[in-house]
Point group: C2
Chain length 249, copies 2
């Protein structure tokens, strides 16, 4: 039986061997939720980048849409911020375009996970798609929490618990203490996830930035139930689209 494990911080990735595994990158607030929403609203592919400079350069040189934030605030001079709502509101403008996105924590987690057999992006919005992919792959899964500046963060952990609950029949979710803890926290919070997560320091910080609309949206289970951002060469594409492209070749 394949094993589901959870890495609470990119700083702990050195303890895991990612080879042959599926890595699920999670940054609920908000990079992974935003990327899922962007692909769900018709963005063709996403370049996640670490720096604002790279992000701006991709916009200038390749005509990408650009989205950027720093410390939870929109960065100046970009088309969009790291807000899923921005992509829904601007759906007509974003459809059919590529996106370059720079975020504080999510990009680092993704870049450090590229040794995995497959790298996908998970959020509550596309939980069903992650579950389906994990079942189909039937390999060990590592949930990589982006965290907040490397530190443990409640919302990413609770997502790991939700994934573990849905995969409990097909995966070993008992032999890692991190997975057990995430499962317990999810089970404690799931009846009213918003209230549960509102305790979190990170969420309070987000609320103070008047991004509470985003917060509520990021917790919607399976709003994009079939969208699965998957890493391909140098970008994230929707897995459905990737398979279509491969079939055409």
């Amino acid at each position: 039986m394949p094993k589901l494990d959870i890495c609470f911080s990119p700083e702990l990735l050195l303890l895991y061997d990612l080879r042959g595994r599926v890595a699920v990158i999670v940054d609920i607030l908000r990079a992974s939720s935003t990327i899922v929403t962007a692909l769900g609203e018709g963005v063709t592919h996403v370049f996640p980048v670490a720096s604002l400079e790279e992000c701006a350069a991709l916009g200038r040189q390749h005509g990408c849409l650009t989205a950027a934030e720093r410390d939870g605030l929109p960065a100046a001079g970009f088309d969009l911020s790291n807000s899923p709502f921005g992509f829904r509101d601007a759906a007509r403008r974003v459809r059919g375009r590529a996106l370059a996105i720079s975020t504080t924590n999510g990009t680092a987690a993704l870049q450090r996970s590229l040794a995995a057999k497959a790298v996908v992006v998970g959020s509550f919005l596309n939980l069903a798609a992650v579950v389906a992919f994990a079942r189909e792959q039937a390999r060990d899964v590592l949930v990589v929490c982006a965290g907040w500046k490397g530190q443990f963060c409640l919302e990413d952990t609770v997502f790991g618990g939700a994934l573990a609950e849905r995969l409990a029949a097909d995966f070993d979710v008992q032999s890692s203490d991190a997975t057990l803890a995430a499962l317990h926290l999810w089970q404690q919070g799931k009846a009213d996830l918003a209230a549960y997560l509102e305790q979190s320091a990170h969420v309070r910080r987000l609320n103070s930035l008047e991004a509470s609309q985003d917060f509520a949206f990021c917790l919607r289970l399976d709003a994009y139930a079939t969208v699965l951002p998957i890493w391909q060469k140098d970008r994230l594409v929707d897995a459905a689209r990737r398979n279509a492209a491969l079939d055409e070749e």
Copy 2:
């Protein structure tokens, strides 16, 4: 109000500034429980060391009692293993002697925390002593979980939650997600802590080594309610004894 934070792995210590803080080193199974028991049974001071060689050398050169384990098993050629019960059974033999102890995870956590203003050792056995010390110091506290080979471990985390619960009136236990999660896990497990922790991979490993007597003992709340191992120069001494020694000088 001073803050209580929890670091889930020594690998994450680089994210914290320990200066001016109290560090509470925790390795419930079993280094911190064993050190508390040793001092409680009359050992004068403890040298925690990383390698078996150093441990043996302290025994040869300074006549210390020696205790060592590797991967949960007693290491050959030492007086005692890393078992609290060993010290209770041999109380007459250990009283008045110094101890050199080598353990897999606990020593590393301690050595990496020496930048703190004060470094103490915490376990369920001496929870009351840690609570009293934290209140008296009234400075920020960081619980440093030894973990299992650097990975998150349930029993150390739950101890952090127990400490947070007792200090909730005097310390900020809300502004760190790690502390919130630990508090939730403790509250979920405390009614039957042994049953709760028996799910853990690490605990199952311990049970398979027939150390279940140790496991039950390590969960006894406040069995040594006044013993507080504190780091002084190059060794751990009981805080009560340290103050006595300072008064004599």
